[in-house]
């Protein structure tokens, strides 16, 4: 089993990540990936100029690695890959690529879903939305928290 995680300080290409994740794979029939793209609109509908993801060098990488390893241990998956941007992110740029490979597709879907729920609530980032009307630090949404809470019932 391989767990690969990376914090990206510069824009990255999700398609390249998928290509790398698929490379040489012939025993795990199912690969599910999530790509999160920076939206041009904030939660209140305002036009966003930029998303800033502040990070704590070392601790942020460790938090992502831990979430990926927990996911791999919890589901019947062969491999997990996470690439997460930090710093200033422009609309349209990828924020996160998360993927899970498994012999069966249900495990791959559940692992990727879980991975994202955890990354959205527990990864060591501080998120700020910058728009023409100012900057605003963002807490995890109630929706994100509710999504993450689904797994504690299993």
């Amino acid at each position: 089993m391989a767990v690969h995680t990376r914090l990206a300080l510069e824009p990255f290409d999700p398609a390249r990540e998928l290509a790398a994740f698929l490379d040489g794979r012939d025993q795990d029939g199912a690969v599910v990936s999530f790509t999160g793209v920076m939206r041009g609109q904030g939660r209140d509908g305002q036009t966003l100029e930029r998303l800033h993801l502040d990070w704590y060098p070392g601790m942020t990488e460790a938090s992502i690695a831990k979430i990926a390893e927990d996911t791999a241990a919890r589901f019947s998956v062969s491999d997990v890959r996470v690439v997460h941007r930090c710093g200033d992110i422009q609309p349209g740029e990828p924020i996160v690529f998360a993927a899970a490979a498994a012999p069966h597709r249900r495990a791959a879907f559940e692992a990727c879903d879980y991975l994202m729920d955890k990354l959205k609530t527990e990864a060591a980032f501080w998120k700020r939305e910058d728009s023409a009307s100012g900057s605003q630090w963002i807490d995890p949404s109630g929706k994100d928290r509710a999504d993450a809470a689904r797994w504690s019932k299993l």
């Binding site: 999160g36 993801l53 502040d54 990070w55 704590y56 070392g58 601790m59 460790a62 938090s63 992502i64 997460h84 924020i95 996160v96 990354l119 959205k120 609530t121 527990e122 990864a123 060591a124 980032f125 501080w126 998120k127 700020r128 630090w137 963002i138 807490d139 995890p140 994100d144």
Partner: protein
């Protein structure tokens, strides 16, 4: 001098870091927080809040945790997630 790091909205107010003197005998997080708050109003506004957590050597700790001069200390509000 030891460096105390700040992140997120805490860093917005206090900058990325401040230098503090940790005595050789160590200090509790509560003491350090108090000391930083006493320095100025901005620091009090930023740090004297229940949602601002302390972290020693990249592990989140409670207020009674002890810190030594060579440890890495940080204060920040709760993570937003990615």
């Amino acid at each position: 001098m030891s460096k105390v790091l700040f992140f997120g909205r805490t860093a917005d107010r206090l900058g990325r870091s401040r230098e503090v003197e940790i005595p050789p005998a160590g200090l509790s997080i509560a003491d350090l927080r108090q000391r930083l708050c006493n320095a100025d109003e901005t620091a009090r506004d930023a740090l004297d809040r229940p949602d601002v957590r302390a972290c020693v050597d990249q592990v989140i700790v409670g207020d009674d945790a002890r810190i030594a001069p060579d440890q890495e200390i940080a204060f920040f509000s709760v993570f937003s997630g990615g």
